[in-house]
């Protein structure tokens, strides 16, 4: 049955998320302005309180799906702050790759560790087939050389899944994922990046120089390079199906925070925000605000759609791109619009709105830019291959 209302069980979790988010928000400004400190693993207020994810136990089949709830929880958490959490969960993007592509032995070995994912390089972003980092087999060891940037959780992770090519002449088919543990000689965390937004977030740059890892650290264990097609590459791309909705959810939570703040300011200033009237009956500022709210609703629904398909076990590659593209644009328009509505008050660092404006800007860039998402959507609509539309 088509339904958009959270159940009582869902709501209990979401209420808890909101309560925690309100606490986390108290720390938001501090860690934004103290870029080189990390928020604590566990906030003081969290002592003795369970992690919100433990509340999933005992949920019934009539509650919303796990994918849907993950999106709502992510959005609910970033409504508080992008980086600060009551309890920092374990796991990074690399863990998703491990689960999707790792052998049972590899999952056994590294499943409990926090793994970052290193794809982007100084000279290659949206087109990962241009990866320059190399992996050369030498006896029973792979020797890794190259540089990686924009590695989320890069400073705090226990290890990282790195994309490297085993044969530069073989293109995308030769790109393999390797698991490299922190502390391996030749693996240097070069710096924590300085950024426009999400400043408290742990974004690192890595350098690998003759970094030697065991042969068994090739994720999935398949050393073969197919000369035609890109089967191996596609295996890696599969991990994106829930991470795209995931980053969209992270963005939409901050946009919602911006809308809530702006609504409060408007109401306090005496503007009445009502919905039943004509399209031209509201004052211009209220009309503008409501258009931003509609964008929020639309983007949120595309995220839930992609997550729902995943919960149903259905392919969601196009829908994941739809929600990522839609949200990437919506969160920019929403936060930029909210500042416009509030004017000089909106740009003051006394309030968090200017921070949300900076923080959401990454949404349309990482995990594939809006342009890349549109390319994927267009190929799917047109039935085109990568070669036919690029």
């Amino acid at each position: 049955m088509i339904d958009f209302e959270p159940t009582e069980g869902d709501q209990k979790i979401l209420d808890q998320v909101r309560a925690e988010a309100l606490i986390c928000r108290n720390y938001a400004r501090y860690y934004d302005e103290h870029e080189h400190e990390f928020p604590p693993e566990e906030l003081e207020e969290a002592k003795g309180k369970p992690n919100v994810y433990t509340m999933f136990a005992g949920r019934s089949e009539s509650d919303s799906g796990i994918g849907i709830m993950s999106m709502l929880i992510s959005a609910g958490q970033t409504w508080g702050d992008y980086s600060v959490r009551m309890h920092r969960g374990t796991g990074g993007l690399g863990n998703a790759a491990l689960r999707a592509a790792g052998t049972p032995e590899q999952n056994e070995k590294w499943g409990e560790t926090t793994l970052a994912m290193a794809i982007t390089e100084p000279g290659c972003g949206s087109d990962p087939s241009m990866v320059q980092t190399t992996a050369v087999l030498d006896g029973d060891e792979w020797v890794i050389n190259g540089e990686k940037i924009f590695v989320t959780t890069g400073c705090r992770c226990d290890g990282v899944v790195v994309w490297a090519t085993v044969d530069k002449s073989a293109g995308r088919a030769a790109i393999k994922s390797f698991l490299i543990e922190k502390g391996t000689p030749g693996f240097v965390v070069a710096q924590k990046e300085k950024k426009l937004g999400i400043r408290a977030d742990d974004t690192a740059a890595f350098v690998f120089s003759d970094c030697r890892i065991p042969r068994g650290n090739l994720l999935g264990g398949n050393e073969e390079v197919q000369q035609k097609g890109s089967g191996g590459f596609k295996g890696v791309m599969k991990t994106f199906n829930m991470t795209r909705p995931g980053v969209a959810a992270i963005g939409i939570g901050m946009a919602e925070a911006a809308l809530d703040f702006t609504r409060d300011c408007l109401t306090e200033a005496g503007f009445e925000i009502t919905y039943g009237g004509g399209l031209h009956s509201a004052p211009a500022v209220v009309d503008k605000f409501q258009r931003l709210e509609a964008k929020y609703e639309a983007a949120m629904l595309t995220i839930l759609r992609a997550a729902w398909l995943s919960d149903e076990g259905e392919a969601n590659n196009t829908e994941a791109s739809v929600c990522k593209a839609k949200t990437g644009e919506a969160v920019r328009q929403i936060t930029q619009g909210c500042i416009e509505i509030l004017g000089p008050m909106g740009i003051s660092r006394e309030h968090l709105l200017e921070k949300w404006f900076r923080d959401v800007r990454i949404t349309d860039i990482y995990e594939g830019t809006g342009e890349i998402q549109r390319m994927i959507i267009a190929r799917s609509l047109l039935g085109y291959t990568r070669k036919e539309l690029n």
């Binding site: 039943g276 009237g277 639309a298 595309t302 829908e319 959507i377 609509l381």
Partner: protein, 364 residues
């Protein structure tokens, strides 16, 4: 439980109406528009589908199925994909009937619902729109005042669908500071019905302007009787319905533009292979999808009896903006061919502009 799952019956209805829209509506859409004339054969064919009577209780001769705004939104998208003018013509009686089912007294149900359960098409229509600048349905100029036991209504209503033949009109008016809807028979004294309006789009749909000059009505004409009715809910419902129809137009444009762009070549490749066109198509798809989910959310709230005013406002406002934008982009993808009347894109462009300024008219 948050879910996008269609019931099996909803899938069956969607598939059946998709076929009907493709086989029956598309082939006659252009002709009805050019000749500004509805196909009577089409009205009979659509009536046979039982679209209107299905959700009327058995006691009044209907199919007795639960009222389902969601199912109706899905149906409406399909029919509007076929043609909006024809879709509105087929479903105008439903908008009137659903208002009676949802808000009418037992006597009103008894009096009017059997009209829609017969073998042949029967028209009755909502009269919500008014020909005023920046029309706001929540504060109409049409006003009712008490007179004795009954009411006197005065005002002007425009874009009243099937105005050439509707037996009754459900007129929304201000009453005593609030909103009410009144059932006005075609032959009411003081009611003047214009000849068919000449509009930008939906030319195949006969619409009329109603002039009500001190039309006297008995107390029983007030929808919901003494208690009145939740007219805001009725307006939320029709806003969601209009938005559903706009999704149908958007999808029609996109599904026409995609194969066209693959076939049309320029500079040694299909224009769809150029990012300038491909990204347009991707954006048209993103917004068609986004709008549909807004419609579904509002429809689900209507179905569950939750206050849908905010969601219906978003659905209608967003759909109005996006469907016009999508139709506009569709014309651009076709270039000169988008401007000539050989293709339906030209018709959809006018349909989108027309439907996206309406209120009332449809119901789900």
């Amino acid at each position: 439980m948050i879910s996008f799952k269609l019931e099996e019956e909803q899938q069956i209805a969607r598939d059946a109406l998709r076929e009907f829209a493709d086989q029956v509506m598309r082939p006659i859409a252009r002709e009805c528009d050019e000749e500004e004339k509805l196909s009577e054969e089409f009205l009979a064919q659509s009536w046979e589908l039982g679209l209107v009577s299905t959700q009327i209780p058995e006691a009044y001769g209907g199919g007795g199925e639960e009222r389902s705004p969601i199912t109706n939104a899905i149906i409406l998208e399909e029919l509007a994909w076929g043609d909006v003018a024809l879709a509105i013509a087929a479903l105008t009686p439903a908008a009137f009937a659903y208002a009676i089912v949802d808000h009418g007294t037992d006597d009103q149900k008894q009096a009017y619902l059997p009209l829609f359960c017969g073998d042949s098409y029967h028209a009755a229509a909502l009269a919500v729109n008014e020909p005023t600048v920046a029309f706001d349905p929540s504060i109409p100029r049409t006003v009712a005042e008490a007179k004795g036991d009954g009411f006197v209504i005065s005002g002007v209503k425009s874009f009243v669908a099937m105005g050439d033949r509707a037996s009754h009109f459900l007129v929304v008016a201000r009453n005593n500071g609030g909103l009410d809807a009144f059932i006005v028979p075609r032959d009411a004294e003081g009611l003047a019905i214009s000849k068919n309006e000449e509009n930008l789009g939906l030319r195949g749909l006969p619409t009329a302007t109603l002039e009500l000059e001190r039309v006297e009505l008995p107390a029983s004409a007030r929808l919901g009787g003494e208690a009145g009715s939740d007219v805001r809910q009725l307006l939320d419902n029709s806003r969601t319905a209009l938005a559903a129809a706009m999704v149908g137009v958007s999808r029609a444009v996109l599904e026409f533009a995609v194969p066209y762009a693959k076939e049309r070549e320029a500079f040694d490749q299909a224009i769809a292979q150029k990012q300038g066109i491909a990204f347009k198509l991707a954006n048209m798809h993103i917004e068609t999808e986004s709008t549909r989910w807004l419609v579904w959310k509002a429809a689900a709230q209507l179905e569950q009896g939750i206050d849908a005013t905010r969601s219906a406002h978003f659905a209608r406002g967003y759909a109005a903006e996006q469907s016009m934008w999508i139709a506009d982009q569709g014309v651009q993808v076709l270039g000169g061919h988008g401007f000539i009347r050989d293709h339906l894109i030209e018709l959809w462009f006018r349909s989108a502009r027309t439907i996206s300024v309406l209120e009332g008219t449809l119901g789900i």
